[in-house]
């Protein structure tokens, strides 16, 4: 290859994933696949009550069972601290009560672990757990966030009076009050964003091994953020240096947020491994995952939107009760505050907005980030209210959106809610494209016709913006986040020219190995096959905050690019020396450094790597080896956007909804691998439309989870999800040199309201103005019949 021949660029190409061969042949390595010599198994004794005092625990029968090694209770583990509360609501007093490794003295939810049995195998452990006798004194329970903070509600934690976790606000209350008081039109609605269970297909767990000679642990964990867990478990829970713990996330079978958090099992497996001197394994079964691992959403909101008769939105006032569950999960308070309130006005210029959020403890599973985390709740709220407003003034909902969109010339746009400015956007083309694919004008005529025949079709629009690439650290510090949010990467070009990249990001389905390798191969001009991406083990990867918030490309990927830039810089210096040329005259292109004007006089990156590695002839002062690390803290978040449109038909006899079409036009900035981007969008949409149509975690008043297994909680099957039509626009992000924004959560953020708006549009002839999710046939039938 001569220097002028361009190597074919990989960025932008839909390469199939390099991760897949092992996963499609059954050779993945997930947590439960790991077996260590002498490993013991843990089964938990969990509370059947939502709220109770623990009177006594008698483990004698369990201990007498052959194969049982030990039984421990919460009191045995008082030498370690509770789990950390890492993100508290900003600028206000928080009352964090995180869980302990095992409950002590009292339980606060069904499934709260009170004792653990350690045994030679999982069958024995489970049998013995049934023999542990626990006496409880039941207490009254509360499951609803709004009721929990009312006077006279059962009190869950002494340290949190009135069950309040925080009271937080953003925006301008006086302005919003005034806008609403003086408005031509005000629409008001109670909007419930029901509780969801993330349901990664792999449940959670951990395996701990302890070496008494060095005092070091190794913990394998189902984790989206092993570096963070290492820090939290050592510095906060055990009070030991972080160098004493190595965390490894093997293949992780989906996370969707649920595997971001620092869970009690990480602590009790570590504690037991140290105590017993043998490795221990804990893996939840699905019903344990449903009872105890984190849930998402669960907001009750009173919303008022003000506007003019000709469709201008003038104000928004929002009061939300956010259910936090029985304890404070790791980043629980950041989700319904910063990631919700600060983006409540969505894609619209709303001059006066105000949000008040009350976080409440209840006797339910902890609530924390679930795909989208705060942004789906915000987007659902504003997109429902805008439709509600359009219906009220009799204007086409697409028109109302156009009229209020933030315009391209407004960027960077400050929404006045304490967020960093939206980086870039061009909302109308995405809306127009989606409407065109849907055949919007045609559809409206057809809808009219069909209504006369007693058929009820509806079309729903959802224009969204979200926050990705969540950083910069200096801003997040002010948001109550207890750490930084930069990412780091190391890139090494070995003597043979092979490139090894280590990253602190933690892919669990996102295809980051493929995406990152595409970037590195292009930037460095080496064959794609020569680039290896390593991740998942805190020993051997630089620190990273993990993969969530659609930040691994926009932050983690850029850290890799910057390391590559440094490698190139050093390679150029070395080339100048070897070619006896002026450094300023060296061009690095297509994996080759050459003298400007004489492309034949050059050295490939492989030759330079070898020269740097053997170090026979380096310029004075240059260290051997091409090996560079970057710590990247972006100047802003990124703000992907788009419009989704869906078409439904509702059967008025049965209340059944048929989702006829689903169209997604997304703008996530530049796309590195469109195949992977599309896959992320598909999966996100399935989760959001499932919220609209099927899913909802239901507790009865006593705090029993009625949707406690996959039998009752309606994760959709293939037949319950429609064909999804995708398209995109491209508005590069000015925030980072790759121009990328993020795509992991967009589908979920856009889709619930897209489907709900379509259903409510279909039901307009029946006078239905709003409907809570999920829109089950029963709910729809009742709405049609005014019940």
């Amino acid at each position: 290859m001569t220097a002028t021949e361009m190597k074919e660029r990989l960025v932008g190409r839909a390469l199939k994933r390099r991760e897949d061969p092992k996963l499609i042949t059954g050779h993945g390595n997930y947590l439960d696949d790991i077996k260590l010599p002498g490993m013991l198994h843990i089964a938990l004794v969990r509370s059947p009550y939502a709220h109770a005092k623990i009177v006594s625990i008698d483990a004698s029968k369990a201990l007498a069972m052959p194969g049982v090694v030990a039984v421990f209770t919460g009191k045995d583990m008082l030498d370690i601290n509770p789990m950390p509360a890492a993100w508290q609501a900003a600028g206000v007093k928080n009352y964090p009560v995180p869980p302990r490794a095992l409950a002590v003295d009292k339980v606060a939810l069904v499934g709260d672990p009170v004792a653990m049995v350690v045994a030679e195998n999982r069958y024995i452990a489970r049998d013995a757990a049934d023999l542990v006798e626990v006496e409880y004194e039941p207490l009254p329970a509360v499951v609803d966030a709004r009721k929990a903070v009312e006077p006279g509600a059962p009190q869950i934690h002494e340290a949190a009076p009135n069950n309040i976790v925080f009271e937080w606000e953003c925006g301008n209350k006086d302005a919003a009050d005034a806008a609403i008081a003086s408005a031509e039109v005000v629409v008001k609605e109670e909007i419930i964003n029901q509780r969801l269970i993330p349901t990664p297909m792999e449940t959670r767990g951990s395996i701990a091994r302890y070496d008494p000679l060095t005092g070091e642990w190794t913990v394998w964990m189902t984790s989206q953020a092993p570096h963070v867990h290492r820090l939290l478990l050592t510095a906060f829970v055990f009070g030991v240096p972080e160098t004493k713990l190595r965390c490894i996330a093997p293949n992780v079978g989906g996370g969707f947020g649920q595997k971001i958090f620092c869970y009690n099992d990480m602590a009790f497996t570590m504690w037991a491994a140290r105590k017993l001197g043998r490795p221990v394994k804990f893996v939840e079964d699905r019903s344990e995952n449903y009872k105890y691992s984190t849930h998402g959403r669960d907001h009750i909101t009173e919303a008022e939107l003000a506007g003019t008769r000709d469709g201008k939105i003038t104000g928004l006032r929002v009061k939300t009760w956010a259910n936090i569950g029985a304890y404070f999960s790791t980043v629980a308070a950041g989700i319904p505050t910063t990631l919700y309130g600060r983006i409540i006005t969505g894609v619209y210029k709303i001059p006066a907005a105000y949000v008040h959020v009350t976080g409440a403890y209840t006797n339910t599973a902890m609530v924390d980030a679930y795909r989208g985390a705060g942004r789906p709740e915000a987007s659902y709220l504003i997109e429902r209210m805008v439709d509600r407003f359009a219906a009220e003034i009799g204007m086409d909902p697409a028109e109302v959106r156009r009229k209020n969109f933030i315009q391209p010339e407004d960027f960077p746009y400050d929404n006045g809610l304490g967020l960093l400015p939206y980086d870039s956007g061009n909302y109308e083309p995405a809306l127009n494209k989606a409407l065109e694919i849907a055949g919007y004008a045609e559809f409206r005529k057809q809808q009219e016709e069909l209504r006369k025949q007693g058929r009820y079709l509806g079309i729903g629009i959802s224009s969204y913006v979200e926050i990705c690439g969540i950083a910069p650290s200096a801003w997040m510090g002010g948001q109550g986040w207890g750490a930084g949010l930069w990412e780091s990467a190391n890139v090494r070009v070995h003597l043979t020219g092979k490139v090894v990249v280590t990253t602190g990001s933690l892919p669990h389905g996102q295809g980051l190995e493929t995406t990152f390798a595409q970037i590195v191969a292009d930037e460095l001009g080496v064959p794609y096959e020569d680039v290896e991406i390593q991740w998942g083990d805190t020993q051997g990867t630089p620190f990273g905050y993990g993969t969530y918030g659609s930040r691994s490309l926009a932050v983690g990927g850029v850290a890799i690019k910057r390391s590559v830039d440094k490698i190139k810089e050093k390679a150029r210096k070395l080339a100048a020396h070897l070619l006896e040329a002026n450094e300023a005259d060296i061009v690095f292109e297509n994996g080759r450094a050459y003298v400007k004007g004489s492309p034949d006089k050059g050295k490939t990156i492989g030759e330079l790597a070898a020269a740097a590695a053997v170090a026979y002839n380096l310029p004075p002062g240059m260290e051997p080896f091409l090996d560079e690390t970057s710590y990247y803290d972006p100047p802003n978040c990124t703000f992907p956007f788009g419009t989704h449109v869906s078409i439904v038909e509702v059967d008025p006899e049965t209340g059944h909804v048929k989702l006829l079409r689903y169209i997604a036009v997304d703008d996530c900035g530049n796309q590195i691998n469109p195949l992977i981007v599309e896959g992320q969008i598909h999966g996100g949409i399935a989760q959001g439309l499932a919220q609209a149509l099927y899913e909802g975690a239901v507790y009865n008043e006593d705090g029993q989870l009625l949707t406690g297994t996959l039998m009752d909680y309606a994760v959709p099957t293939a037949a319950m999800v429609p064909h999804i039509e995708t398209d995109h626009t491209v508005t590069p992000s000015p925030v980072n040199p790759l121009g990328v924004k993020g795509a992991g959560e967009a589908g979920t953020i856009a889709s619930a309201q897209c489907v709900m708006n379509a259903i409510i549009d279909a039901l307009a002839p029946f006078g239905v103005k709003h409907l809570q999710m999920p829109a089950t046939p029963e709910r729809i039938w009742k709405a049609i019949h005014g019940k």
Partner: protein
């Protein structure tokens, strides 16, 4: 303890097992075939699907002792002579997997579906895979993967 003899992926095993031992645990813990996964405790998710005597079965709801004398194929035994099965190829080509946790069960269920219906429509694929849950893909690319395999298998048959 009961003695069973089973053939798994072409290899014969004789084992002493507890009568209550689930087939999925037998495969994973006794034979170290960890490609077959466990995603639920109510027989809903299909992560555990294997073939028993050529028919897809949820191995979390089957006792090892019921399989005495049976021929079992797991995901590890699906490809032959280092050649990926057309379904494995289809899932790779069409991005039919993300985290990969549901994939072994999904592929085994789809293999059974294609045996019964070699040329399924999109709708038949969606209904045929109703016993398998995937939380990552939204199923769009799983449908494409199965169609890819159906076409590839039909082409191979036509060439024979």
């Amino acid at each position: 303890m009961t003695t069973i003899t089973v053939t798994v992926n072409g290899i014969r095993y004789t084992s002493e097992v507890e009568p209550r031992l689930l087939l999925v645990h037998y495969l994973r813990e006794h034979l170290n075939l960890t490609g077959t996964h466990i995603g639920c405790d109510t027989s809903q998710c299909g992560a555990c699907v294997v073939h028993i005597n050529g028919v897809s079965v949820k191995s979390c709801t089957t006792l090892a002792v019921q399989c005495d004398g049976a021929e079992i194929t797991t995901i590890e035994g699906l490809s032959s002579d280092g050649q990926l099965h057309p379904l494995q190829e289809g899932f790779w080509e069409k991005h039919g997997l993300q985290c990969g946790f549901c994939t072994p069960g999904m592929i085994m269920a789809a293999a059974d579906l294609l045996k019964r219906n070699p040329n399924p429509t999109e709708e038949e694929i969606r209904h045929g895979l109703e016993g398998n849950l995937c939380r990552c893909t939204g199923y769009e690319n799983i449908v494409r993967a199965v169609r890819y395999a159906a076409e590839k298998m039909a082409a191979a048959q036509a060439a024979d």
